[in-house]
Amino acid sequence: MRVLLTHPPLNASREVTPPLGLCTLGSWLRHQGHEVRIIDLDLEIKGRPDGRDIYLRLLERAVADFSPAAVGITSMYNNSLQAERMARAVKACDPSIVTIGGGSHFGALGPQALRRIPELDFAIEGEGEQAFSALLAALESGAPISQVPRLHYRVNGQLSANPSAGLLNLAELPQMWSTLDGSIDLGRYAETVLEGSARRTIYIEAGRGCPFACTFCATAPFWERRYRVKPVGRIVDEMRFLYEQFGYDGFMLVHDLLTVDKQFINDFSDAMMESRLPVEWMANHRTDINLHGLLPKMKTAGCWAMFFGVESASPRLQKEMHKGLKREGVVSTIRGLSDLGIASTCSFVMGFPDETSEELSSTIRMGAELKLIGAGMIQFHRLRTWPPAPLSRTMLPSKFDLDSLRLEYPFLDVPHDDVAAIEKDPEFFAGYFAPYTQAGTFAQLADVELFFTQAVAAAPLTIAVLGRVMGASLIDSFYAVVSHRGAITREDVEADTTSMLPIWMLLRPFLEEWAAGHPALESWERELVRGVMAYEEHRLRFVNGADVTADEGIAALGDHWSAFFSNVDIAAVFDAMQTDQPLTSALVQDSAVVLVNHEMNSYRAYTTDVSHLAGLANHPFLLEAAAN
C-alpha cells in the first residue's frame, strides 16, 4: 500500500533532525513491502516566514504528488492542532484516503482524538509499528479491523478499541536509515546543521521504556514501562551510516533511561571503542544507577554528556512523585561525571500541587550548587500533566496556562483562534492546564522558570550564595521583588542571545535590589553577595571579550589578563560552596582576582593578596599568556 507519513511543524529553531518515530515506522512499513514517503512539515517550512500559512498547502501538494492510500499523522502535544488541520486537509483532497493518528498525543488519547477530529479514521494507542502494519494488511485484504491491536476506530458512529498484542522486539526492526532510502532526504536535514557547531548532532533511537513510575512522566507509561534496547551492532551501524554519509558526529541516543541495563552499556561501550568511529554520544541516566566502574570506559568510548531528571531537592516531593532520588547521590554522580570530563544536564520540575515555596527555594539552590560542582546545564521546568502520566489521571484542579502554550507553540505567536480552540478542550490539551500549586501562581512560576534558568547559567555562584544566605525565603523574597519592580521577560532575554553578558546586564539590577532589600540578611551577607556578583560580572566581561579597561574595581591589566579588587575571598567562597561548608563573615576580606586567558578560550581565575598586584605585569607566566 502507498503510505504518506507526516509530521506537523514543531518549533521555530533552525536545526532540524529527522522525525525518529516516523522514520522508525516508515522503515518498518517499507520492510513489510509498503511504499512509503515521509513529509516532515517542520523541515519543509524551516526558514520560511510564511510557514504558518503554507504548511497545509505543502501537505496538499505532497498528497497530490504521491497519491497515498493512507496518511499517518503524528504529533507531539504542542503541534496537535496543526496535526488536526492536516487530517482535515487530507480528507478535503481525497475523502477515500485513510487517515491514521499516532505518536505521543494521539497515541495517548486515541478516543479523544477521534471524538475531536471527525476526519481522523483511526488512532493507534502506544507503540505504533505492529498495529500500523496490521491495519494496512487488514485494509488491503478486507480482513476485520477488530483484529488490529491497539486500534481506536468508529463502528456505526460509536468509538471502539482493540486491546494490545504486546510490544515489539526491537531486534525485528530493520536497519532504519538504509531501509528508508528514497522515503526521506537525510541530506536536507544535514544541511540545517549550523556552521561552526561543536558537533553535528542528530537523534537516533537506542530503545524504549523506563521501568520507573514517576508520577509526572508520560513516556514511561506510553512504552508500558518495559525496558528494551536495539541490538548494539544495529545502533553502531546507524551511527556509522550517519557519520560516513552525512558527517554527523554527535548522537543523542534516544531512550527514556538507557543506563538501566549496565551490561548493555558495557557492550555498547566496547562496540564503540572497537568501531573507532570518531563520534560522541549522550544518553539519559539516573543518579541512583551506579555506573562508577563503567564511566571511564564510557568516556573513552565517546560518551560526552548525560541527561538527568533530578526534579526536586525536597525529599518529601521525591517520595511523593515516586522518583526517590537522594541529594547525596545526585551530588556524587554529578561530581563523578565532572571528574571524568563528562558533561551533565540536570533538569528540575516545579509546581507540584502541594509543593511549597520553601521547597522550591531549596530546589533552585540545589540547581545552582550542582552547576558549581561541574554540571554543564541546569534546567527548570513547570510541571505539565500530559496523559498518560499517572498525575494526569488524578484530575487535579487546574487552569489554562497561556504562557506554557506560548513557550512550546510551533510558531512564535499563538493566534487567538488557536488559544480559544485549546482552552475549550481541557481533556485533550491537558498539558496546557497547569495544576494549582502552593509554590506560586502560574505567572510567578513562569517568572521563576525564566529568571533562574538564565541566572544559574550566567551567575551560578551568585544564585548559590543567595540560596544559602536567604535559605527557605529565597523564592518568597524573589516574588516580593518581582511584585514591585517587575520580572525579566522572554522578549528581554531573547533580544540578544550572542552571549550570557547581555543576560547578566538584565539580571544585575534585579539581583542588586533583591539582595539589598532582603530584611533578614546581615551586613556581611550583603557584602558577600556584592562581592560574588562583582566577580561574576568581571568573569563574564573578560570571557566575552568586553573592553574591561574602565570597569569598576580594575586594578591591573595586561595582554590577555586583568586583575580587579574584590571585597571577598572568591577562591574560599568556591571552596566552601563546593565542599558544603558554611559561609562565614571571614570570607568577606579584601583581595584581588586575576583572570587570565591562557590560550584561545582557555581561562583561569586566581585569588591573590592586594599587595602582590604591583608585580603582576612582569610575571613571566602572564607574559607567556600574552605571547600565546
Binding site: T300, G341, R539, A571, L595, S602
Partner: protein
Amino acid sequence: MAEVNAVVGYLPDAAARALASGKYPAGSIEVRLEPGNDNMHVRIDPKDIAGVLLGASKKGESGVQVFLNDGAKVETVASGLADDFRLRPIKDPILWPYRPPIVVIYAPPTLIKELVQRAAQQSRE
C-alpha cells in the same frame, strides 16, 4: 571491591595506537585530560602502565584509558601561574573544569588484563 587505577584522557593518534598495541616508548607519556587542550596532563612512566584501551579518534587525538600498576607514581602537570605571588586557583567550573588526574575503576585486575590483551590484539590486526 577489586579496583585498579587509571588515567582517562587523550593522546595523539599514533602514540595511542602504539600504546594500545603494547609498544611503549622509552620516555614518559603525557596523557591530556581534555581533548585539544594541554592545560592539564598526566605524565606516566611506561613501566607503570598495566595496559591501555583505545577509544575513538577525533581531530588527531584518541581517547585512552591507561591502567596503572599498583603503586604507580604519576605526575600531574597543570599549566597555571606559579605560586610566587601566592596565587590561589579559583575552582570556577565555568572557566576551568578541574579534574582529578586518576580515576578508580572497580573491576578485578584480571578482567582489565583480559580487556587490554584483547584490545592490543585488535590494534595489531
